[in-house]
Homo-oligomer: 349 residues x 4
Amino acid sequence: MNFASDNVYGVHPKILASLSEANAATSPSYGGDSFTARAEERLKEVFGCDLRAFLVTTGTAANGLSLSAITPGYGAIICNAEAHISVDECNSPEMFTGGAKIMGLQGTGGKITPAQVEKTLKGFIRGEHDPKPKGVSLTNATELGTVYSPAEVTAFSRLIRPRGMKLHMDGARFANAVAGLGVTPAELTWKAGVDVLSFGATKNGAMMLEAVIFFDLSLAEDFAYRRMRSGQLISKSRYLGAQMLAYLEGGLWLENARRANALAQKLAAGLTRTGTVRIPNPVEANEVFAVMPRSLYDRLLASGAMFYDWMPDSLGGAIGDHEIFTRFVLSFATPEDEVERFVQLVAAG
Amino acid sequence: MNFASDNVYGVHPKILASLSEANAATSPSYGGDSFTARAEERLKEVFGCDLRAFLVTTGTAANGLSLSAITPGYGAIICNAEAHISVDECNSPEMFTGGAKIMGLQGTGGKITPAQVEKTLKGFIRGEHDPKPKGVSLTNATELGTVYSPAEVTAFSRLIRPRGMKLHMDGARFANAVAGLGVTPAELTWKAGVDVLSFGATKNGAMMLEAVIFFDLSLAEDFAYRRMRSGQLISKSRYLGAQMLAYLEGGLWLENARRANALAQKLAAGLTRTGTVRIPNPVEANEVFAVMPRSLYDRLLASGAMFYDWMPDSLGGAIGDHEIFTRFVLSFATPEDEVERFVQLVAAG
Amino acid sequence: MNFASDNVYGVHPKILASLSEANAATSPSYGGDSFTARAEERLKEVFGCDLRAFLVTTGTAANGLSLSAITPGYGAIICNAEAHISVDECNSPEMFTGGAKIMGLQGTGGKITPAQVEKTLKGFIRGEHDPKPKGVSLTNATELGTVYSPAEVTAFSRLIRPRGMKLHMDGARFANAVAGLGVTPAELTWKAGVDVLSFGATKNGAMMLEAVIFFDLSLAEDFAYRRMRSGQLISKSRYLGAQMLAYLEGGLWLENARRANALAQKLAAGLTRTGTVRIPNPVEANEVFAVMPRSLYDRLLASGAMFYDWMPDSLGGAIGDHEIFTRFVLSFATPEDEVERFVQLVAAG
Amino acid sequence: MNFASDNVYGVHPKILASLSEANAATSPSYGGDSFTARAEERLKEVFGCDLRAFLVTTGTAANGLSLSAITPGYGAIICNAEAHISVDECNSPEMFTGGAKIMGLQGTGGKITPAQVEKTLKGFIRGEHDPKPKGVSLTNATELGTVYSPAEVTAFSRLIRPRGMKLHMDGARFANAVAGLGVTPAELTWKAGVDVLSFGATKNGAMMLEAVIFFDLSLAEDFAYRRMRSGQLISKSRYLGAQMLAYLEGGLWLENARRANALAQKLAAGLTRTGTVRIPNPVEANEVFAVMPRSLYDRLLASGAMFYDWMPDSLGGAIGDHEIFTRFVLSFATPEDEVERFVQLVAAG
């Protein structure tokens, strides 16, 4: 029973097969291959628009590179205090942007609001003594398993675009957000004002694959240089393109996400039924965050179940001394019966 | 007939199979998996010493990260003017090191000498107006298909170690150097004073895999932070570990290199026999650099053969107006009959 | 009546005279002059210890350079949320350190506590996914006009030194802290565990002069390179040395600070007597922070008095809707009668 | 007899007096003062155009900041191999630009040619594997005491502007170039296509003062942030403005430069007359570079004369084993009789 992360599961068989298929013959390297070109074309179809897509190997690189296209080192990026770019990437955004400030606002349920951003922007009154606000980054689905709807995303865009700021979406779990919301990829991105998207695939069935997708094409100028300079231009690039082709083929990416999301709903419902566990935030993607007694937590870990405790900062104090905040991540490959067995284990307490 | 690069060929079947085998079950992520741990252990056996190994996805990242461990931003790294770190990585070493100077010296046949380095170091006489010399980087096998012997490497180490400088080896084609020289990996690295090695695998049969290997263990302190910060810590890390295990298993890495090197010898001998092509440098690894008439060059390209022309800077002017300098790279997977056919094509002129 | 900042006042006449005296004859440049050498010797006497001092022109540079000596780009520096390095320097610490994280903790009265730092350090549990904590920076006197005593400083040092972290003091108003506490410079720095000090002079009577002073001499290694690289090595360096000599001569620096501090006490006492203004924090240096009715604020500004309103974050909500938080800075050169007139102006309401 | 550098001399009395005059009363800080505003206005008059000027304290900072406005970290700046930005600033341009490549071309007499730049640009054929060429930097007067004429500067601009590249002039000795050429500041800068100028004052009589002057106003956007972030925004900014006002007042800057240049002519003529010293490059500003016998060099140094030997790289081998290449810098304040005495000393050999 492993709910530690979606990245503890392997690669979807179709994506693995695609790597083997790509292995025949020679192929141009450094992004000049036909797999990469077709992957970009397929992404245009998926998003229903013109765009520029750059394949990379990690979400941290995708985020750092995305942000480097929207802020110089003297700029600031506003995000949720628990955003991956703020607390999980070892100053990587600072490295990629040349030192920009990542300003984390304390949100609720993993989400910040346009009103918070507006208030923050009003604090930038001292010219060059402050950094220059250059962008907002929204994680969708969020680090707490919630989602921003197209309308919510649009509200950020309406606020910041007139100020010359850009909107980034960290979509490490973008598929889960799209599946959870039942919207189109277009509705959740460029139609809602997203300028650049970190389009995740690794957590959702790929081996190592993310794409930086520019809807604001002007931001893509020189981006090939940025990717190369950061050591993210893969020589045998066909193996990134091949992963992406399989990931998109026949809607595999959404199919995987829907399965993971459904398991999250099942787990959440099961845990709630036990009566010993609280689920403070809505479960809108493939993660379940639960408050449980420490005694239960200890018993579950002792039984071999794998999951993490989580920083309760976002709960606003609504947690008791003998409670613990925990995270469960469901994957395209999580066995359904493990969810059932886990709920039974909780209920057996 | 594709001699453009060793990276236009695919992945060795055994390495591809290893990826599939690694796909079962769940596995800890971010380098905590058993594949990665075993890969490091195997590297210790291969090199016959204690070491620290960090797996990454590209040679550019391996080099930049290696250099970041030996120089701060106010430092200088001395290398050959044609070194990959100097002219092929879009300022990536500068990004990873925070702005260090990459000083390329004009070498011969892809190689610099300790005497050149010593003379250069004598020029650092103005204290902090110059950067501080912090390291030397040798590419082995070199960008021109030659190799540094253990004795040659040792001479650099003897020169710089007493000055507190570190020795880096860019081993994107390290296997070809070891195979070409008929030495042990230990003899060519730590026994010769190498402090950190970019151990390449991608060009020699892996999909995307390089290792930063520290023989000076003190340099490895905090290196996990450096790798994470640069977006090079892969979440599903088992797929790097699995590649490395297969790459080393049964000496596959050297077997591949020996095959490629042998094809290079065959090509060089064949081209020389034609009488229309000069090979100015010794062929010591898996690359052949040839001076040919432009008319021949045009005919070969027109026939569909794929290879690059090369900057003739290292030839010291020994090239005629109607000649062109060209590069042929042989791979573990290059069909032997293509070498034969290509020689016939040249001879048919 | 100008209480906007201590930097709106000019240069002390003795320091100005020192510049003229230094103007005769030729002098070695780039720090090789005798003024600079003597300034370093005098600082050793003032601090009663061996040390290394590097003169620069701004406090922002002094801070950024100091921090660059104690943290790499993957590190973190812990400070008060209102610290100058956190909110007043336009990402300068990030530039100088190559991207380190400046973690501001919400303090009280401009001060953080060792317990806060300890709790923060306990959150660094995820290895390289977090940055590596490398230092604590205390501003003394603080941005809110309070001071850390030697005992308080020592408590930070005792906490972090065993963890390999370094202690920086931003002493833009160091003289005011020393004067306010009635301690020796040694007691407030190296005896209390400070490793590196930004020793301010500009605000307290110099023209443009700060010193980076290393008590941990190992941190000074290579620092000359850092200073040069940042464009802070002045060619006609004698004019920094001459400022420092005059600043220290006969205790001018402490004399200036004592005068400014005394004016702050006078202002605080006068404002308190009026009964319409609250002073929430102790006045321990040369700044007075006051909560006043907005109507009074408007009247004072209209009368031509110059001072700033301030972010009330540190007040913990203890401010009414019709109130405003304001800052008054007293300088070595503030006319005493302006303090008196200002108090009368407030009282006249 | 000190010919070591123009920065070994002090501050012109009028500039020193201006600092004293600026000392009265309070003044807004951080560039908001009237001295700074008037200095910018005066620079507009001097250059006869609209411009944006930013005052800083060192030439290294002026250069680094200028370059940061024209190249990102993945860019390249082309200059002469002996340019200050290439060999005298300890990787400072790399720090300010976030890692751009400074490509030094071996010139003649301190100068490169448009043809050299054009040939270099033709080598950028590999897309993002190379950095992106973003600018050319010309030092004027050059590091070897020669000058680029307006026509020569224009030729660079005509070459690079159509390619989207920008032209920077390192004018640490700009006054000497203008004076030497007998042209207007406008003719040598914006009329010749210069986009940004490091306008030096320190070497020519100021205390610590340079200006970054943008003729391409679009480059000045956000530049205030860049200056602040680098620790170059002086709090008591009036003392930079006051220096600049005095430097420009009544043409002092050109008067100083003319005097220094005339002394250089006098020294060159005198040395040539002795018959024992060769002057390989034209003397066009305030520096004289001379090839002399080592025996003479030793005798001169022993007599107490101060000057530097210089790297003979630019001489193209035209120097004998027993000869040495030397530099003599003349300043606005160099006593004329010292020039005469030095020539006599040489002649007495």
